[in-house]
């Protein structure tokens, strides 16, 4: 080997000029790599949903092009957003975290933390998702829940926000005093389990527990988690905590547990002021009028609610025991548009809609000139204009990122008087994050949620017969002599007929109500399923459970916050805990939780039965695991149930819930949040057991300092 000495010198000029070709030569592989990574993450989920719907359920996907476009937007959005996080938001958070302990007192840091926690809750619209899901909650079946999701929904958000704010404060104090996360977890978990068990004694509170636990899982979205994590890591390093190198974790855990207590506490506060659950008929009686007043802002909106949610019988009871009083009231409505507004809300023609859908025939005839205006409202579909789509989602993205980014910048530049490191990267990162999140949200709305809704609605067809409302059909020139009769075991007769469609003879049940003898048309809604009629659809239920597992698994792999967490964990453990292992452990846990959630909805098992035992097991596992894994495990669970998982799981839950007919379909998310902790802690224990290049004999007695 010849050795030659060459001096190492470099041109000292500032910038290197890059040619056009070189520019693309650098940009394209980089962009390709990022987009490729995200495609892999989302692909599993998408293929799975599509294959499941088309092959197993055998139902074609509606609006295929729109959905495909939406999925492309999700992939693109994820790539941009994740890159934006890594380049801009997280370094910003880390720098603020590094400077805070040096230049600000503890109380100022805590105040900042509280504002951050509160702001993050308002910035991210996850709560809104729960509200839309809560639209199906009936005021008489779950009054407290109805109140907190409707009239007092802002109190719910405040409670959650305060919960998160205090969580950040607790988490920061923990860093300063170098306390272990374990006591926090154990005390909080015992407290929450205790509150949940105690809530069993009040039916109102019992119905609230589902959403309380769901709130805990839903807070801390894809922007907050990486930000709070980076902040925590920075603060830990600056404070010099002597704990393991995964200092900085733990805030997310607390932000997932405290809001549950806050919501349950809120429920406790309002408990005395709301009536107990009752039947629909009882709800309309004069005696309870005082008590139910609190559930509605005005008397008129109460009337509107009764009219839209209940049938004519209940309306009669409400308005005063006779058909006359009902007709009188409807007449007064028809004559006073202002009254209509107060009753039905600002949506135009709401009254007309009501007449058409709920009004008795004589009512509609008397009020509308022609009986055919019904057609106008029958098949109305909401068309969201394209520009509205972009604008809406962009506003959501801006609302989620900019306030937090501004807060950090202001704190860094003015209060801490420090420079923003690599300013151009940070600003570019924020910009990427905004674009990414907008596209991501658009894609979720047009692609994933649509797909999820379709699958969610069709899913029960695996074990039950469900009507396909979209395929409502009218048969002309219906010859009633074709209708045949079958007899049931109890002697009742069922009538049916055959329809020839697509070279197949399909059996349709015949209901004389849908037959119009004047026009000789038969209008009906075809139904599908059950796919597996064996043993009351047991196999079908099993299929749905398995579906739930893979839905949770696949959706979690696509979550951006989990990706960001995985990257940080791998970096902090210097490669010992690989990102791949973490994401797959978490995903299996979520899958398990989702599957159990399906079981909960289908068989109406009380949530506590499925939720509390794993928490008790977790207390033991937490005690025996190393601090490092405890922090990572509990934080990963807070990270799941994000913008990808929540809509899909909710859609599935709603579809199932409606088919099965439960009061409330919440709780699946809560289950999907607890089981990943179990899986990660178990994996951690496994690694703990395996590791150890130095077997115990070498470690002398005095050397073990934990």
């Amino acid at each position: 080997m010849m050795e030659t000495g060459i001096y190492l010198q470099q041109p000292s000029s500032g910038k290197v000029h890059v040619s056009f070709r070189e520019f693309w030569g650098l940009l394209l592989p980089y962009a390709g790599k990022r987009i490729g990574e995200q495609s892999k993450a989302v692909l599993f989920l998408v293929l799975y949903l599509i294959l499941f719907q088309t092959i197993i359920l055998g139902i074609p996907i509606a609006e295929v092009l729109v959905i495909a476009g939406g999925l492309g937007a999700v992939i693109l959005g994820l790539s941009f957003f994740l890159e934006g996080l890594i380049l801009g938001l997280m370094p910003l958070g880390e720098m603020v975290g590094l400077q805070l302990p040096r230049k600000a007192s503890l109380s100022m840091v805590l105040a900042f933390g509280f504002i951050l926690g509160l702001g993050a809750t308002f910035a991210e619209p996850a709560i809104g998702v729960l509200k839309t899901a809560g639209a199906s909650v009936k005021a008489w079946e779950a009054p407290l829940l109805f109140l907190l999701l409707g009239r007092y929904a802002h109190y719910l958000v405040y409670a959650v926000g305060i919960g998160v704010g205090f969580a950040v404060i607790l988490g920061l104090i923990r860093f300063y005093y170098d306390w272990s996360l374990k006591p926090y977890i154990i005390i909080l978990t015992l407290l929450l389990c205790g509150m949940t068990l105690a809530s069993y004694f009040s039916p109102n509170l019992q119905l609230l527990t589902g959403i309380a636990w769901d709130c805990g899982g839903i807070t801390t979205g894809p922007v907050t988690v990486p930000l709070v994590l980076a902040l925590g890591i920075g603060i830990c390093r600056a404070v010099g905590s002597n704990r393991s190198d995964t200092g900085g974790f733990g805030i997310v855990t607390l932000a997932s547990l405290l809001p549950v207590a806050a919501v349950l506490g809120l429920g406790l506060y309002f408990l005395a002021k709301v009536p107990a659950p009752m039947t629909a008929a009882d709800f309309c009686r004069k005696e309870v009028r005082e008590k139910i007043k609190i559930l509605f802002p005005t008397q008129e909106s109460l009337i509107g609610y009764v009219m839209t949610q209940m049938g004519p019988a209940e309306l009669e009871i409400f308005l005063g025991e006779s058909a006359d009083s009902v007709n009188q009231f409807i007449q007064s409505l028809a004559q006073d548009p202002k009254l209509q507004q107060r009753v039905f809300g600002i949506e135009p023609a709401a009254f007309k809609k009501w007449i058409v859908s709920k009004g008795l025939p004589e009512q509609s005839l008397s009020l509308l000139q022609d009986g055919n205006s019904s057609g106008e409202f029958q098949n109305k579909r909401l068309h969201l204009s394209k520009s509205g789509l972009f604008l809406r989602n962009m506003i959501v993205a801006v609302q989620a990122i900019l306030p937090l980014a501004f807060l950090l910048m202001i704190v860094l530049l003015w209060f801490l008087r420090a420079r923003v490191p690599r300013k151009d990267e940070v600003l570019f990162g924020i910009f990427l994050g905004l674009i990414g999140l907008s596209f991501f949200n658009i894609g979720i709305e047009t692609g994933l949620t649509k797909l999820g809704n379709q699958v969610g609605q069709m899913l029960p067809s695996s074990f039950e017969e469900i009507p396909l409302a979209a395929q409502r059909k009218t048969i002309e020139n219906f010859d009633t002599s074709l209708v045949q009769t079958a007899i049931r075991a109890d002697g009742k007769k069922e009538r049916f007929f055959y329809e020839y469609k697509g070279k197949e003879y399909l059996r349709r049940s015949f209901d004389p109500h849908y037959y119009d003898p004047q026009t000789k048309t038969y209008t009906f809604i075809p139904s599908r399923g059950p796919l597996f009629a064996f043993r009351q659809g047991m196999l079908g239920v099993l299929l749905v459970v398995v579906f739930g597992f893979f839905l949770g698994y696949g959706a979690t792999l696509a979550e951006p916050a989990l990706n960001a967490l995985g990257i940080k964990v791998q970096e902090l453990t210097v490669g010992r805990f690989k990102k791949r292992i973490l994401t797959h452990s978490v995903a299996s846990g979520v899958g398990l939780g989702t599957a159990l959630g399906v079981i909960k909805v289908v068989w109406a098992i009380p949530l506590s039965l499925l939720l509390l035992p794993p928490y008790f097991i977790l207390i033991f596992l937490t005690l025996f695991s190393k601090d490092e894994f405890v922090e990572i495990g509990w934080d990963s669970a807070g990270v799941t149930t994000g913008p990808v998982t929540v809509p899909l799981v909710l859609a599935m839950g709603l579809g199932l819930g409606q088919a099965v007919g439960v009061v409330e379909g919440f709780g699946i998310l809560a289950l999907a949040s607890v089981y990943p902790i179990l899986t990660v802690l178990l994996v951690g224990l496994l690694l703990q057991h395996k590791g150890g290049a130095v077997s115990n004999p070498s470690l002398a007695e005095g050397e073990k300092i934990s």
Partner: protein, 373 residues
């Protein structure tokens, strides 16, 4: 400017708290800890062994502890650590010392000058060389495996960020990954050249963008050579026997070990010489900017890694921030003065940044060279 001794210890994370405690009780006031990992071979158990008997690579948490001491106490500190941590028992860690020039530093960057314990000279040898290698992230394990296969030592690996050409590209720099992995190892003088050659070959370190490797002198040290995790069914492990023989013989030269490199060398290897490893340690967050300034003075680039500064709890004194970072630059000797001057202009040695710079000569280095003469 003065000559000091820099002691580095690669230690299993489980053992670190004990060592820190012992050192503080003995009068040391400041040290630095960088988180890292070490890999060792692990036999596959049970069914997996059936498919392929090649051993797995298992990783453990490792700490790289750096202590700056006055040369007069170097021996005491070394012997004390070896004795207390029982480093002679293979598998627990390595330790070595280097002579470096401390050029300038903030007043709070102290060099330890008192040590209260005395220990008998045991198990420390001279005739060692150090190798540091910087590669792309996720490439480290492969190189570590190559090193482990030679049986010379167990390297320490930790993460860092690279700066250099990419910082001259403006915003386009985000398309070039900056994440790096740093491997550090100690080998006997006789083997060092061959190990370095093997690493260059296996890691393609002479290709563009693949990495950087350099070799330097070490005063004295003790190497952990336990490359396999599972103790074989003998009374003593081979490493223990070797260690005892080292001690009996008093040196490492008796080991006639041959490192297998490639039999052919197609092209002559060009090494860079007359270089200096310039180490700048400062408060976290300021390194990148300082390196940028240094680059304007002609420095090619740097590798920055995070470290934590530990100090004894003397609450009366002002302390340095625990969050620190180390910027490692390989430069020619003649650039040194300029760089120091630029750092002074940038107030690197004042309270906000609190930097300290050390320099140490490098025997030879290898990387991709643009023009080979």
């Amino acid at each position: 400017m003065k000559i000091i001794s820099r002691i580095s210890i690669f230690l299993l994370r489980e053992l670190t708290p004990f060592l820190i405690l012992q050192l503080k009780n003995s009068g040391l006031t400041d040290l630095q800890i960088t988180s890292g990992r070490m890999n060792t071979f692990q036999q596959k158990k049970g069914v997996r062994n059936f498919f392929s008997s090649e051993p797995d690579l298992g990783s453990d948490a490792l700490d790289v502890i750096t202590i700056l001491v006055d040369p007069t106490i170097e021996d005491s500190v070394l012997y004390f650590i070896v004795q207390t941590m029982k480093l002679k028992i293979q598998g627990r860690g390595s330790i070595f010392s280097e002579r470096v020039r401390m050029i300038k530093g903030h007043s709070l960057c102290r060099v330890n000058s008192t040590f209260m314990k005395k220990a008998e000279s045991t198990g420390i040898f001279s005739g060692l060389m150090g190798i540091t290698c910087i590669v792309q992230r996720d490439e480290g394990d492969r190189l570590a495996q190559v090193i482990l296969n030679t049986g010379t030592c167990v390297p320490a690996l930790y993460y860092g960020l690279g700066t250099g050409l990419r910082d001259k590209l403006g915003l386009l720099r985000i398309t070039i990954p900056a994440e790096k992995e740093i491997l550090q190892l100690v080998a006997r003088q006789e083997e060092a050249d061959e190990v370095m050659e093997l690493m260059i070959e296996q890691g393609n370190l002479d290709q563009p963008g693949k990495g950087f490797i350099y070799l330097y002198q070490i005063e004295k040290g003790l190497i952990n050579t336990r490359t396999h995790r599972d103790p074989p069914p003998h009374i003593a492990t081979l490493e223990q026997v070797v260690a005892e023989l080292d001690h009996l013989k008093g040196n490492l030269r008796w080991r006639l070990h041959n490192v297998e490199g490639s039999s052919e060398v197609s092209e002559p290897r060009y090494y860079l010489k007359q270089l200096v490893e310039f180490r700048l340690t400062c408060n976290e967050g300021y390194g990148a900017e300082l390196v940028k300034e240094a680059m304007s003075a002609g420095v090619a680039g740097a590798t920055i890694f995070k470290t934590k500064h530990h100090f004894a709890d003397s609450s009366s004194q002002m302390q340095i921030s625990p969050a620190r970072e180390v910027c490692n630059m390989i430069i020619s000797e003649n650039l040194l003065e300029n760089v120091i001057r630029i750092l002074e202009i940038k107030r690197a040695f004042e309270d906000e940044i609190a930097a300290i710079v050390e320099a140490r000569s490098v025997d030879k280095a290898c990387t991709y060279l643009v023009n080979k003469k």
